[in-house]
Amino acid sequence: MMTRREWIAAISAAPLLRGATAAPVAPVSITKCASYDEDVTAKLGLLFDQLGGLGGLVSGKTVTIKINMTGAPSIRLQGLAPALTHYVHPKVIGGVAYHLGKAGAKRIRFVESAWASAGPLEDTMLDSGWNVRSLQSAATGVEFENTNALGKSKTYARLTVPGQAYMYPAYDLNRAFEDTDVFISLAKLKNHATCGVTLSLKNCFGSLPASIYGDNAGVDGPNENPTAGRDRVGHRGLRQPSKSAPQELHFGANHDPGYRVPHIVADVVAARPIHLAIVEGIESMAGGEGPWIQGVRTVKPGVLVAGLNPVCTDAVCTAVMGYNPRAERGTAPFQTCDNTLLLAEGHGVGAADLGRIDVRGVPIAEALYRYDS
């Protein structure tokens, strides 16, 4: 039985889903890379060449790359380094930096809202066993920003959801997300306990600063020393973000994380468009997004995927994982959640229709690695 609030929330989203056929498409590139011992940088070069190269996109520009480092680096699956299971691997990050630098990027800023901390992102990287100095030397102009709070800026940027937002009319983010010419989502090929899959779209949920959207965010304004995740605001809707930020449109209407998180993600990627989506699936985990999810296991899909449209890229990735990217709620991998890809498609971000997507390099059938098998 749907409550009145839930009904209001549902009808406010419905018209947007009707616009799906108009959603744009862009080519998606796939290459195989069996292990991190291979020449990952060369494989990435091939991946980007198949898209026509990066020069036109990044030359002379400031580029911001949202990487995926979910959860505390101390939490590990079978003692493995986080990059072998649920973080994007630093070799991939270094390789991306190298190619961006080679393509003429002026400033290369890697960002992530490091778990429950406002400290330097470099600290989290070191805690993950990464060699930060190597990353910095991969290209000139490499820098890092923890976007969980203000970081190096003095104010937050407000990014508005174009058209009718699902959850929040706009989002207050670290300025790194606005003060950039190019925005890249560099994600890991994984399942997600709440969203079914986490790829370049879901990666951007981590753009939300815990200072404003965290469990211990300030009531009136940001808490610049956040020490918690976004469960109460984002996942369950038990509280509003800090009053300084735009408030939830239908607060209290829905507390289901399987509804809320996909809708928030679709809002965020509409508000902060992704110019290049890169998904790393050399080694990863299946069954969830991190070691704290029961039943997760290591997998070695051995693929790298990139595309100039995040919805198209995630659609191809979802297919590579053995799922139908247009699957509705109730069907794997979206058994208990809404399909983020379709919601983003509803916002006009891109099309999740494999029939319309030009897949270059390795065909999906040859890259297929079933996550549910």
């Binding site: 079978q78 070191l126 990464w130």
Partner: protein, 463 residues
């Protein structure tokens, strides 16, 4: 030490082991010896163990051990006919007596009288240790079994962090207060398969804090070792290598704990705990100096910038004056909430239950906030499954950072950032590796990277 003993062994064989050829008690490296046959002593050959805790003691075994330059301590427990047992053990020519458990004071006094010049070691509860400060060795049979605590699945989450069961907080506090040689003589958990790695962790847990774990084997391991099972022999060899590592560096025991953070804690109260404030700070890898209130004298807080005084009401006016001077000279002092007292563990316990932990949380939140992510001497990265101990020599020219990994997996790529103007960093490992580390400048000092830590490693810093 074994090295002191060896040149004398041949002489001893001929002279039936006079007491002077045995190592001094302070140098004893103890093991509970589950065998009574002299042939079992072959297992020791050339290794660091030089003191065997035996029960029962036989004259034949004691003589064989003494002939090998090994001290023997007869273990006596409260349920024995104590004085009769002690006299029998002494007649068997054991080197000394180990009283394991709680004994009435008069019984202990009677045993000491009966023992004469033979050492009597108390292996009793932690709470009784300070009563025997004059003993050649302070020891206890109470300890937690070191290792990663099992994560509570119900609370598993992305913020979950590993907790490490350790005796280091207790050892460090007790050693800082007494400076005495210290043994932890707890035994492996029963009905549990104990891996070789866990034994190595137990040895290193005590060793990095300047104490010795009295090696004790579970029944299965002892049985396999008695049969000279190849796998058990290999594991035993690794244990001896680990024990030797700490014995090869007696200078480490003479070094002082270092850190910009000082913790004033009564060794007879909170200092008796495992899992108390000192261990909680250690899990954050913040170097901290434990200081007993009695040691709060001018100069005790030299080089410290932060201090935590757990039990403000328990200090004498003179001790309070030292802390007052510390704050007047720019130091930051954190005291417990009003009315908060350091009560230490409940009788017979060495860990805290949930209500006690919640009570400790009152002060822990403040300590955690104060420590933050500052470099208080050394900062460690990628060391979640590790504990560390940072020591400096008396002249301050050499420092040693001990690292112990409590997980079942080696840790790769550990980064260390430290304050101070050190010119060289050398990595030492139990298997004898001494490798220079490349130093690089960091925001507030110097850094070095360690490729891999299996169970234990140390970084020696030299000015």
């Amino acid at each position: 030490m074994r090295g002191d003993r060896c040149p004398r062994v041949l002489v001893c064989l001929a002279l039936a082991a006079p007491a002077w050829c045995l190592p001094k008690p302070a140098d004893w490296v103890p093991a509970r010896w589950p065998w009574a046959d002299a042939a079992s002593l072959d297992l020791i050959g050339g290794g660091p163990i030089n003191c065997l805790l035996v029960r029962p003691a036989t004259a034949e075994f004691a003589a064989a051990a003494a002939n090998g330059g090994l001290a023997t301590l007869a273990v006596v427990v409260p349920t024995d006919d104590v004085l009769a047992t002690v006299r029998g053990d002494l007649a068997a020519k054991v080197t000394g007596i180990a009283l394991e458990g709680s004994f009435p004071a008069e019984t202990i006094a009677a045993v000491r009288r009966a023992a004469g010049d033979a050492p009597v070691i108390e292996l009793g509860p932690r709470s009784g240790m300070l009563a025997y400060l004059g003993a050649p060795i302070l020891a206890t049979d109470q300890g937690v079994w070191p290792g990663m605590a099992e994560m509570d699945r119900a609370r598993a989450g992305p913020s979950g962090s590993a907790w490490i069961d350790t005796n280091t907080g207790f050892i460090r506090g007790m050693r800082a207060a007494t400076g005495a040689p210290l043994w932890i003589a707890n035994q492996p958990p029963t009905k549990t398969v104990v891996s070789a790695a866990r034994y190595l962790e137990a040895i290193a847990d005590a060793g990095m804090s300047g104490a010795r774990w009295a090696i004790a084997l579970d029944e299965d391991f002892a049985a396999r070792l008695a049969k000279r099972d190849p796998k058990a022999m290999a594991d035993w060899g690794r244990m001896m290598t680990m024990a030797s590592y700490f014995e090869r560096h007696p200078e480490w025991r003479a070094m002082q704990e270092y850190g910009k953070l000082a913790l004033v804690q009564d060794p007879a109260k909170g200092g008796l705990l495992s899992g108390g404030i000192l261990d909680m700070i250690a899990v954050k890898h913040a170097p901290v100096r434990p200081i007993a209130p009695a040691d709060l004298k001018p100069g005790a807080l030299k080089d410290a910038s932060l201090a935590v005084n757990l039990d403000a009401g328990a200090l004498t006016p003179e001790e309070q004056a030292v802390l007052r001077d510390f704050t007047r000279s720019g130091g930051t002092l954190l005291t417990g909430p009003p009315g908060w007292t350091d009560e230490g563990p409940a009788a017979g316990k060495i860990t805290l239950d949930r209500p006690e932990l919640e009570r400790l949380n009152d002060i822990w939140r403040e300590v955690n906030s104060m420590v933050g992510r500052r470099n208080l001497g050394v900062r460690l990265f990628n060391a979640a499954s590790m504990l560390s101990n940072f020591l400096v020599s008396g002249d301050g020219r050499t420092a040693v950072l001990h690292l112990v990994n409590y997980s079942d997996f080696p840790v790769d790529n550990v980064s260390v950032q430290f304050l101070g103007n050190y010119k060289r960093a050398i990595l030492l490992t139990p298997d004898g590796v001494e490798k220079p580390l490349q130093l690089y400048q960091t925001e507030d000092g110097w850094g070095a990277d360690i490729d891999k830590v299996t169970v234990a490693a140390s970084v020696r810093l030299e000015q």
